[in-house]
Amino acid sequence: MTDGWVMVIGLEVHCELKTTTKLFCGCPNMFGNEPNTNVCPVCLGLPGSLPVLNQKAVEMAMAIGTALNCEIRPSTFHRKNYFYPDQAKDYQISQYDEPINVDGWLELPDGFRVGIERAHMEEDTGKTTHAGVTGRIHGADYSLVDYNRSGVPLVEIVSCPDLRTSAQARAYVTELRSVLVATGASDGKMEEGSMRVDANVSVRRSADDPFGTRCEIKNLNSVRSVGRAIDYEAGRQIALIESGEQIMQQTRHWDEDASRTVMLRSKEDAYDYRYFLEPDLVPLVPDSDWKEAVADALGMMPAQRRARLADLLRDAGNVTDARTEQVATVVDLGLDDLVVEAIAGGIPTALALARTANEAAADPEAARQLDPGSFVTLLSMEAAGTLSSTQAKTVLAELLAAGGGDPSAIAREKGFEAMSDNLLSVTVAHAIEGNPDEWARYCAGEDKLAQVFIGQVMKSTRGQANGKAVVAELQRLRG
């Protein structure tokens, strides 16, 4: 950020709900199908068709509201009218002045709380493809429309203008994504468009000044572009003000390839959406029993899950920055249950965390399917020294590929039998003979030279030796 300026950022996040069917009709809610195959009279806006609200979508919206500490309120649906062919009806059904969720907050991992103004339900639009030279609207001769996505349930989460840096905005999107996945409402796949972000950005000289004129940036489809677009936009606004110009309220488009925002429309072109109550839908009024049932069904949120692991680390006296980072990784990937089960199974905390955050996390999809029992058995073999860490990692890779199995059987198959103490002593003695200078320095107290001998022993045993056992033998010989 340029010196002497502060940013104000508010984010609007559209989240597709992973229901089986669309919001107002029974068409499949499915990404990537053949164009215009998941359509019916309702989502095509044919005359005489009537929308009926999907109960599961409502429950997912309530789950999101609960997870974001919102008040869940009686709500209504409106028609938002506009002329654009991505809705065949010429209007989008959305919640307007009475959204289902209001006044919540999301706490970021560093403890900063971002206010949530509202999280309302609406239907997604169809997908338009612009034919012509550029693939963009400008210069397109015509457009092609696929209505498979039209009517897919969305929840739009609107933050308060509480964010002050692009890093904070990225942290917010990352944490919100984890929360949405944890509620079971979203698959969190930003690359497939299941989460789309718009950012409102303004700048001012000091935190005591009133808010500056803001611009809204659309088309932010990754956490990375959220950060880059905000930084670019703030820089653009600062340069304008410093050259004596005024910021015009605009909607701008983030062009990822060109790394800049371009104007879509100014406030003067703002649409009059002629909102009015959707006459084909009745009010949605969740009672307290329903709200409680949704809250009870909600699993632990990422913040609680991080705290759970942090407590276990603290109990084991094992807190370091690196481990705190590992905790964030395993929670983000939904692998924290593996760690908790392993610790409960008697595995040292640091080992359980390291194998999960480093090796299991390499294939999170497989790791989520992994039988915790096999994982715990494997780690106890490593902890007991029956397997070296190199061997344990190899067996873990096999377990992940197969979705489980018997670690001892796999170890036998690979020829990972523990070395006998006798063979180990012989091999260590041999390594010492070959490196007399290093041995002398090791005996004089240069402990780090143990690595030289471990390396030698590993080489001559092709990785079968246990590093800890080698060190123990070295220490025994040093006396």
Binding site: P85, T125, L264, Y271
Partner: protein, 102 residues
């Protein structure tokens, strides 16, 4: 009859513009008169004391009409596209769009 602001010709032109309707001068005069009569009729409601009545779009007090999340019948794509004025690549082909999506 209560004293409500009378609908103007400009109001009608604005609303017509939002609906992308192009009205001639004669049509504007005609519809301004007709719409004013309709609004006057609805204005009778303003005579009632409705301070305690919440706004609604429905005559019946029905809430929470929901359906289970179970797939229903989709329409065959060929049938859907056969009804479209123009089709390309199994998609609806529409004229060049002015301006971006809202």
């Amino acid at each position: 009859m209560v004293d409500t602001p009378r609908l103007t010709r400009e109001d009608v032109a604005h609303v017509a513009g939002l609906a992308r309707l192009h009205l001639s001068d004669e049509e504007l005069d005609l519809f301004t008169g007709q719409l004013a009569v309709v609004l006057d009729h609805a204005a009778d409601v303003a005579l009632l004391d409705l301070a305690d009545v919440p706004p609604t779009a429905h005559a019946m007090a029905v809430i929470n009409v929901l359906r289970p999340d179970i797939p229903g019948q989709t329409v065959d794509r060929e049938e859907v596209l056969a009804a479209a004025p123009s089709v390309e690549d199994h998609r609806f082909r529409v004229p060049r769009i002015l301006g971006e999506a809202p």
